[in-house]
Amino acid sequence: MSYENKIMQLKKMLGKKKEQHSEQPSYQKPEKPAYISNWEKAGLSIVENDFGVVFHRQVRYPFTYQHGWYQLQQFFQAVEKWEQTNFHHPYAISSEETVLFFDTETTGLKGVGTQIFLIGLLGIDEEEFVLNQYVLADPANEAALLFESKLWQWGNTIVSYNGKSFDWPQLEMRWTFHKNFLPKLQTPRQIDLLHSSKRIWKNHLEKVKLTKVEEEKLGFKREHDIPGFLAPIIYADAVKSGNAIELMKVLQHNEWDILSLLTLYIHSTNLLLDHALQDDAVTYINIGKWYDDLKERQQSEKVLLSVTNQFDVKESGLAYFYLAFQQKRNKQFLESIESFQKAIHIIDERKKLKAFEQLAMLYEHQMKDYSKALQYTIKGIDLLQQATFFNENQKKKQLETWDKRLQRIKKKNGKLFHTFE
């Protein structure tokens, strides 16, 4: 492009911008709150940017910092472990990524009247982990908070607890109010550890509240923590009274949440990738099932096999059940039959019915052992008839299918006898 052309193009762009500029009202910088020195005394520092003021607290942790059973630097080993795997997983992080552990506190639960008053971000420096907490100076200085968080910058991987369905949509909602002035908020890669925790500890932990997971799995017990539901009230009080002493407890709460986020990531990675088992059979069966759903069959089989190897039949019944499907898929029919048979006495009724069905199919189609097939079909029908987990309609439909199977196998079985005679 010639120099003249380039100039012409630039001019055009300039013109456009001017037009836009004249349309939009310019940003009115809000006044500073009156209680700055009070909040500073409580341990916060004030930051001023183009959009107003925001309070800031920074904490730096050495790599060796211990939080519960883990040192923060074990995160690097976790990343290394992921890089050594040969399969894809939605929770894998590579060393190329810029990771931010992210958690917010809000003034309410839902709706556009709810503001984010605290954004906590834990990142990694050259030699340290660094936590930055940004506190809404007052409701008018919101754009300053959002801008200062730098969450609009591209290329972060955000690790959160329930952030995918709560914190990030909240952030997007707040951003909408200032969309004419703030840089556009991009959608980053998000890893939500609530989802993984639900998968890993299903039927094992009653509640996957972070504080619960912390105590039972990460070896961290909080002392003098404020309950999360008080946070909105404490913030409102700090703004109304100008006193931030109590508010610092909310920052402490947020700090613990974020540190646990990091160690939870380490812990989850270990559970997903380590050979040595360090949790209950249920947990590993969940993990095996998860791999299966992710279509990582080999990995699933590996985990389930190790469960059956290391726990007794009673504990690993469900593992046998899932394993049996893998084995059938691998055409290891005898192994599959054996696994189903082991599982039958332990698994719940619904799965038991499934197992009888599979066994009947395996015996009929693969083993051609019609009397065995018949046995399992009859067992299945018996179970179905007394089952309470289907409604009448479903039951009727199911019974029809089972009856077809029964008639077919009877016929095959009869033929067989016939030829023998």
């Binding site: 003034t107 309410g108 556009v112 009247g113 007052d138 409701p139 909602m173 009230i233 109304k240």
Partner: protein
């Protein structure tokens, strides 16, 4: 079964029938009118033209054309659209035109109920299909599946919803609806006339909040309203939307021939002026129409009368197996039941439907030939809505109005001009109701912070915001008030009732299969769902076994008894402040704030056919307290009157006055209550209180303050001309003993009237 006949044949037959003839007070035939048409607008988009032509529409009605021109000129308007006048094209055409011109355009359609939105969506989608264009219209309400909500928000050109959803589901989440609010061109309000009273006052605020959010996003939508005939459509629309409106008052749609029969049940007791029950008469007339094969809708005023009529009429089909040809339809039925009935009406498997005013609204049930109104529905607008249900497609139609014994009914049945002349009532709303205003001001603060010089709608609210700041729900910074509370204020406001939550009705006839069969507002529940009450649902009787008032649950069991129940409500009143007052010699009329305590006292069991009182009991429900507006008239005790004489006379006067208020103001009989006090607490004088039956008041009693003279005049005239001797339900209410009650009531009324003249 007798042979089928046409309406005209049937009417001729009745006019010659000795028994029926004498009950017909008047027959008025209104001839049909040709339609008035206008050409398609020149720039009407070809796709719309095509779709209309496919439907056989080659021209528009004049009002549809006017609507199109006004809307596209950016002028808000209200169109008066009688039933079956093609009102939906008044808004579909300009909205679709705009979207075709600029696909980023958006519109909101507001319907008073979910059911109406569903109906209109079907209708609109047929039109859009015929246009063959990519236009998306969706309903958005509590039933909308979560997985398509996102799509509705981002891509819906036309969002059909109801005020409740707008209030708590859309406005408090406006950032999810940016593309709607940035591009909102039209707000369509269908059935405008239903936005009156408490509900209308709430909706007025929901719309102010909506406009506020539109302005934030830079849009400036035009309002399109359609309304049934009321006296003040323009005023109502302007007050509701806080926007200037043009009025389209003339419908160009053709009208079929309509025969009105004013039917007055025979007097069975001359002295007491007792007439045969209108419900029993309506039953007999409906049976005749049924046998003549004429599809009929019967309107009754209350849920109880609907259920009684259904029970009676089902006798007609009791020997047929699985016959569904007679059905009830009212609020309180579950949506699935209602859909079923609507379908039956359309496909003709239902012959007679008995309904409360739930069907007044434009639910599309197709053609019905006859309509029976059991009792005057309370106002002209409703009466016309009900009458419009008959003969929707230009056919000859029959409307039978069966009068009750009440004063208002007797007036209407003897003055056909009142109903058929063109003087419908006013629909009132009162956005100034401070309780309603405050609750929406909170919602508005939640949605967008108020600046320190901002007004809200037509209101100066700085002081109120200051107050909310002191209350601690707002925080004031230099330039704004911000919401600062973890509450979600929209959840604290129920648009439908000033009282809040509903009572859920649970059927426990089968212990293992208890199920919810309906709900009811708390105020009605006090007198209809107390323990031992007989509650009727689809013609089935239930007895209330337990009422859990705390949890708002009524447990009922199916029973088979020959009585229904009727409950009394006692009311105590205290004057809080007097805003207006007029003093005469011995009479004072005032208007102001009152506080009242309503206490349900006893209920009576009344025999289904003889209407005898066959038992009674106490009601154990805590009193309900309410702060409202009232007009009250105090006067000095006439000389030589005992307090006992006064009690009866005041009760009679209250009864008579209360009957005529709905003649002037569009409200239901129960929206305004007249209560006599022999010795009022505040001035120890005989007083009549006329109060709004809703917390905070809705402007009805204030209107009464101005209209007291004509109301009294009409009342006196009516009591005087009533043929009874000592007073009857048609004038001053039933009297216990034969004395000069009627003359005493007249005396009091005259004292008041003469002084105020």
């Amino acid at each position: 079964m007798k042979k089928k006949r046409t309406i005209d044949e049937l009417v001729r037959e009745w006019q010659e029938d000795e028994e029926i003839k004498q009950n017909i007070a008047h027959i008025v035939t209104m001839e049909g009118r040709e339609g008035q048409y206008a050409d398609f607008p020149e720039h009407l988009h070809p796709s719309i033209k095509k779709a209309l032509q496919e439907r056989g529409i080659k021209k528009l009605y004049t009002h549809q054309r006017q609507a199109f021109d006004l809307a596209l000129a950016g002028k808000s308007f209200t169109a008066i659209t009688p039933t079956a006048s093609g009102k939906s094209l008044c808004y579909h055409l300009p909205v679709l035109q705009k979207i075709l011109e600029d696909p980023s355009s958006r519109a909101i359609y507001l319907f008073p109920t979910k059911a109406l939105a569903q109906d209109q969506k079907t209708d609109l989608n047929h039109l859009i299909d015929a246009m063959d264009e990519e236009i998306y219209s969706y309903t958005y309400d509590g039933d909308t599946a979560p997985n398509i909500r996102q799509k509705v928000r981002k891509a819906g050109h036309i969002v059909m919803t109801n005020p409740d959803m707008l209030h708590s589901g859309i406005l408090p989440h406006h950032t999810k609806w940016v593309s709607l609010f940035e591009n909102l061109k039209f707000i369509v309000i269908d059935e405008l006339h239903t936005y009156k009273g408490v509900f209308g006052s709430h909706v007025a605020h929901v719309l102010r909040r909506l406009l506020r959010i539109c302005h934030f996003y830079g849009s400036n939508p035009v309002f399109i309203c359609t309304s049934a005939t009321i006296k003040n459509p323009k005023e109502l629309a302007e007050k509701l939307t806080n926007t200037k409106h043009e009025l389209i008052s003339q419908s160009g749609a053709p009208v079929g021939k309509k025969t009105f029969i004013f039917y007055n049940p025979p007097i069975i007791h001359t002295t007491f002026g007792v007439r045969k029950s209108s419900i029993l008469e309506a039953r007999d007339l409906a049976a005749k129409l049924y046998q003549a094969g004429i599809q009929t809708i019967v309107f009754a005023k209350s849920r109880v009368s609907v259920e009684r009529l259904v029970t009676y009429l089902k006798q007609l089909t009791k020997n047929k197996i699985a016959d569904e040809s007679i059905q009830g339809y009212r609020g309180g039925y579950l949506p699935s039941e209602r859909r079923q009935i609507e379908k039956g009406l359309r496909d003709g498997t239902i012959q007679i439907v008995v309904s409360t005013n739930a069907l007044e609204l434009g639910v599309d049930i197709g053609q019905l030939q006859a309509c029976i109104m059991t009792g005057y529905p309370g106002n002209i607008a409703s009466a016309w809505q009900q009458a419009g249900r008959a003969g929707r497609r230009q056919d000859s139609a029959l409307v039978i109005y069966v009068a009750n014994s009440t004063a208002l009914d007797q007036y209407v049945v003897n003055h056909p001009d009142y109903l058929l002349g063109n003087a419908p009532e006013e629909a009132l709303i009162n956005p100034d109701n401070i309780l309603i205003l405050m609750s929406h001001l909170k919602c508005a603060s939640f949605e967008l912070p108020f600046s320190t010089n901002e007004t809200y709608g037509e209101f100066e609210v700085q002081e109120l915001l200051e107050y909310l700041q002191e209350e601690g729900v707002l925080v004031k910074t230099n330039a704004h008030y911000y919401w600062m509370s973890d509450r979600f204020p929209a959840h604290d406001v129920n648009l439908r009732s000033a009282a809040g939550e509903n009572v859920v009705i649970i059927d426990q006839t089968i212990p293992a299969g208890t199920k919810v069969i309906g709900e009811m507002d708390t105020y009605s529940a006090m007198t209809l769902l107390h323990e031992e009450a007989i509650y009727l649902h689809q013609g089935v009787q239930y007895q209330v076994e337990k009422l859990d008032w705390e949890e708002k649950k009524a447990y009922v069991r199916e029973v088979d008894v020959n009585y229904y129940t009727d409950a009394n409500l006692a009311v105590e009143l205290k004057v809080l402040s007097e805003d207006k007052s007029a003093m005469y010699q011995n009479v004072t009329v005032s208007y102001g704030d009152v506080s009242l305590v309503a206490i349900p006292t006893i209920f009576k069991k009344i025999h289904m056919t003889t209407l005898d009182n066959i038992g009674s009991g106490k009601i154990h429900i805590p009193p309900m307290e309410m702060h409202t507006n009232a007009t009250w008239i105090s006067f000095d005790l006439p000389e030589n009157w005992s307090e006992e004489m006064l009690t009866d006379a005041l009760t009679g006067a209250a009864y008579a006055i209360g009957s005529f208020i709905p003649l002037y103001i569009q409200c239901d009989r129960n929206d305004v209550t007249v209560v006599p006090q022999v010795k009022s607490v505040h001035n120890e004088k005989p007083t009549l209180f006329i109060y709004d039956s809703y917390p905070g008041g809705i402007g009805l009693s204030e209107k009464v303050y101005d209209l007291l003279v004509p109301i009294l005049e009409l009342t006196i005239e009516h009591v005087l001309s009533c043929p009874c001797e000592y007073g009857c339900p048609s004038c001053i209410g039933a009297q216990d003993n034969l004395s000069d009650g009627k003359s005493r009531v007249l005396k009091i009324l005259k004292i008041l009237f003469n002084e105020m003249m």
